[in-house]
């Protein structure tokens, strides 16, 4: 593809790409940068794509660029959560009272997991309740592995906030 031909494609789809980037990141300058990055990435592989697929293909690159930007911005804001030490104790070490409390708490946590909304409900059910691995969940739900990992991480954070709210 010649430079002029690619310039034509940029002019044709620039508004679409910019719109997608802006709607995701809600920052004008960042959206412009991401639009530029989208077309630069697209240039490297555009010869392998059919003309009729340009629109969805460019839209996908744009949303991936926006996703990566949002992910890094979000990761900087969110801190790691710690495990509740009480639930690390083995059942046979617990007194009858503690065992009863643990069972009640486990049921409560399960119900809290079931109350989550998508995209966290299925991922949390498979991971926390059915003890599936990330690879298995990725295959079952047909989601990329990294997306599954991120969603599990976020689900833990949401669950922690919900459980803390209930304690209060």
């Amino acid at each position: 593809m010649t430079n002029n031909e690619f310039k034509g494609i940029v002019n044709l789809y620039e508004k679409l790409v910019f719109t997608i980037c802006f709607q995701m990141v809600r920052d004008y300058h960042e959206a412009q940068n991401l639009t530029q990055d989208t077309f630069i990435s697209a240039y490297k592989h555009i010869d392998k794509v059919k003309t009729e697929s340009y629109k969805p293909w460019l839209a996908k690159i744009a949303s991936n660029k926006a996703k990566d930007f949002l992910k890094s911005a979000y990761a900087r804001k969110v801190t790691c959560t710690e495990e509740n030490e009480f639930f690390d104790k083995k059942s046979d070490e617990l007194t009858p009272d503690e065992f009863f409390i643990e069972k009640e708490s486990t049921d409560f946590i399960k119900n809290t997991i079931y109350s989550l909304k998508e995209p966290y409900l299925k991922v949390s059910t498979l991971f926390f309740i059915e003890s599936k691995t990330v690879d298995e969940i990725s295959i079952i739900l047909n989601r990329p592995k990294k997306t599954v990992q991120t969603q599990i991480f976020r689900a833990k954070d949401i669950l922690k906030k919900m459980l803390r709210k209930e304690e209060i």
Binding site: K15, Q32, K117, P144
Partner: protein
């Protein structure tokens, strides 16, 4: 707030419209962008929802910036290619000057190798010979002093 995802895990109309109108917080926008990155169906629905009247105009077109970046990348690629060829050519010249490509070079190496092996073989033979001679002399000296006279009478 209404759900952003339906029971099958796909984006609802509410999610798409809210994203277009800018009514979602950062986390929800991240969730939507993550989903669109792997769900072709939702990506198609989202693109269709972006009708001409909803598309935004950037104040400044990125066309010329993209062109400049592409030119930079092209030149960088060319430079890397020529630099590799130059280094390979220099290396070949060095080997040529050292005579490694000459016809007799292989023969010389072979001869040196053969003579080195011959010297080694001679040395090993000498050492083995000395060792066996010493053992033989030792045994002779031992049995010289032993007399069997009168043992069988």
């Amino acid at each position: 707030m209404e759900d952003l995802f339906d029971k099958e895990g796909h984006l609802t109309k509410f999610a798409i419209n809210s994203n277009i109108e800018g009514n979602l917080d950062e986390l929800h926008r991240l969730e939507i962008s993550e989903h669109i990155s792997f769900c072709e169906k939702c990506l198609e629905v989202y693109i269709e929802a972006l009708t001409e009247d909803k598309l935004l105009h950037p104040f400044e077109s990125c066309s010329s910036k993209v062109e400049r970046e592409i030119e930079k990348t092209k030149y960088a690629g060319l430079f890397r290619r020529y630099a590799t060829v130059f280094v390979a050519a220099c290396f070949t010249m060095m080997l040529w000057v050292s005579g490694i490509f000459s016809v007799n070079y292989a023969e010389k190496i072979n001869q040196a190798h053969v003579s080195m092996m011959s010297e080694k073989n001679i040395r090993i033979t000498e050492i083995t010979k000395n060792f066996t001679e010493n053992i033989s002399d030792g045994l002779n000296n031992t049995f010289k002093n032993i007399s069997l006279k009168g043992v069988f009478e």
